[in-house]
Symmetry: C2
Subunit: 320 residues, 2 copies
């Protein structure tokens, strides 16, 4: 009986530790991640980090899921504009709405930051938090990427999903720290990434507690609360986590300060940048890109000891 | 041998489940807490709540630790004023500092909210987050309550410590949601309550990411960011946790909206109010009090189904 059990285990491969990162090639990024995790987990050594302090932070757009041909949250906003248009006949004459309704995103965004804020406020405010959550959940379940035809929530990177699971198996807490909307991410991050809402940090608008017919609601107001990008990322990390991460993953210069803040801490630290250099399987962009521009990070990574993940060379698979 | 082991276990009481709440009398509050935890933990029943959604929120001042004769954070601020006074000769002539330096707290606070904000900004801003953390840690380690002579961090309620442990053993996540300063609590909550910094929510001032001689710091600015009290508590719960709690504990009307928000959710919910009615062992105050005023909560608890915890009748012990 005992022999049979042993044989069964052997045949099922369970006598050997399974590779926790099968979608990663055995190149420098994977090696540095595994070496780091093993190092901080070894009790009794100077590099040991207690589980409570094993905080890993991840940008979302371009790091955990794709961000081309434009941020997915913008697809969501445009869908909302179209759905709301019948209640807003004035949008037909008013930018940036008029252009969006004609399908001309480029013209709509020509209005720069002001146009973007108008789009966000028209589509993300004026609802309760519960109403907004339902709308985002519906969008996540039903909307598809225009190029691949996959649901947006499947445009996530398989190697990063494996990495999140691997880190949590080693007692890391995994947080998202994204420029995207905090309430735009929370309805689906637990299912897709295994990251619960309290570990999602993002940009936000203000909310207000109100009683409506005696029932308390949180009303989403058309007023910016926080932009979780660049210098904002360390600020938000402190506000939400209250502890400096020991690992950080980003893909654009919007993540630079997060990586800088992470690696300036004492003791073992690891920072990695996902480099979109795979035009065949995903997209190739960095210095010149309007979305996910990566310039300073590429220039300074070597001297700062940050690793660059080449999607082309370091990842066996892109999507699940 | 086996018999001896069994006997030893029997004698040590380990054959019976140990009471997880030994400092609670077997009265209504304890019964309702245990019944609630057992109910939401029973898989396959309509009241079952998945572990990820078992969020319990706790006010701090007056709920987890004492708040008399004044908020402990004010003792901290006064100590800081005294330490900083040599660098601020102008404080000798300037209120509220002059009164505080003379030891007249009442006169200092006569300036109302404006005076309080001045005290907070003078003592909590102008430092980096790391410098502030060290100062708070030193204070927590060395300062003592004027009446009991205990360190402030031992002026915590033993029944609540047991409750926190009991909830976490049943896969609850325990959060602090306090009007106190978020960075004033974080340096000691993990050690004292087992609550890590990322599960501490509080009031805050703004911070700014800066490079000082090439090293990134977060500078604490003399500007309010958020007041985590009354209507602010549900707002902060949404911002930090992103999910409605199923259990809430408070002690004053500053917690009213948090309990209201918690119990307005669908499914099983439990709200309890710690009532300071034990002048002998702690303090007795509610309706008339300047600190921890409890009036609306007392009036409305019965019709809302919120339980009142009588410190006098429901707790066997107060402090550890």
């Amino acid at each position: 009986m005992r022999y049979i059990t042993l044989l069964a285990l052997f045949l099922s491969g369970q006598l050997f530790a399974a590779d926790p990162l099968p979608s990663w090639n055995d190149t420098a990024p994977k090696q540095s991640i595994v070496a780091f995790v093993e190092k901080v987990s070894k009790e009794g050594t100077p590099d040991f980090v207690p589980p409570a302090e094993r905080i890993a932070v991840f940008d979302n757009d371009g790091t955990l899921w794709a961000e081309q041909p434009m941020y997915f949250q913008l697809f969501f906003a445009i869908e909302r504009i179209k759905a709301l248009a019948p209640q807003h006949p004035e949008w037909k004459e008013k930018e940036p709405f008029a252009s969006l309704l004609r399908g001309d995103v480029k013209a709509a965004l020509a209005g720069g930051e002001h146009a973007l804020v108008q789009i966000v406020m028209a589509t993300h405010a004026g609802l309760t938090t519960e109403e907004f959550e339902k709308i985002v959940s519906d969008w996540a379940a039903n909307s598809k990427h225009p190029k691949t035809g996959k649901p947006f929530t499947q445009m996530v990177y398989q190697p990063m999903l494996e990495l999140l699971t691997y880190l949590r198996a080693n007692n890391f807490k995994t947080f998202i720290v994204s420029g995207g909307g905090i309430e735009f991410m929370r309805p689906w991050t637990e299912k897709v990434y295994g990251i619960p809402p309290e570990q999602v940090i993002g940009s936000s608008i203000k909310t207000k507690f109100e009683l409506r017919d005696g029932t308390p609601v949180l009303a989403r107001l058309p007023e910016l609360n926080f932009i979780d990008d660049k210098e904002g990322k360390p600020v938000a990390i402190q506000q939400h986590i209250g502890r400096r991460p020991i690992m950080a993953f980003g893909n654009s210069d919007g993540d630079f300060q997060m990586l800088e803040w992470t690696t300036a801490g004492k003791g073992p630290r690891l920072a990695l940048i996902v480099h979109h250099d795979d035009a065949q399987r995903e997209y190739a962009y960095d210095r010149g890109s309007h979305i996910g521009k990566l310039e300073k990070g590429l220039d300074e990574a070597p001297q700062r000891g940050w690793s660059i993940i080449s999607m082309k060379n370091d990842w066996k698979n892109i999507y699940p």
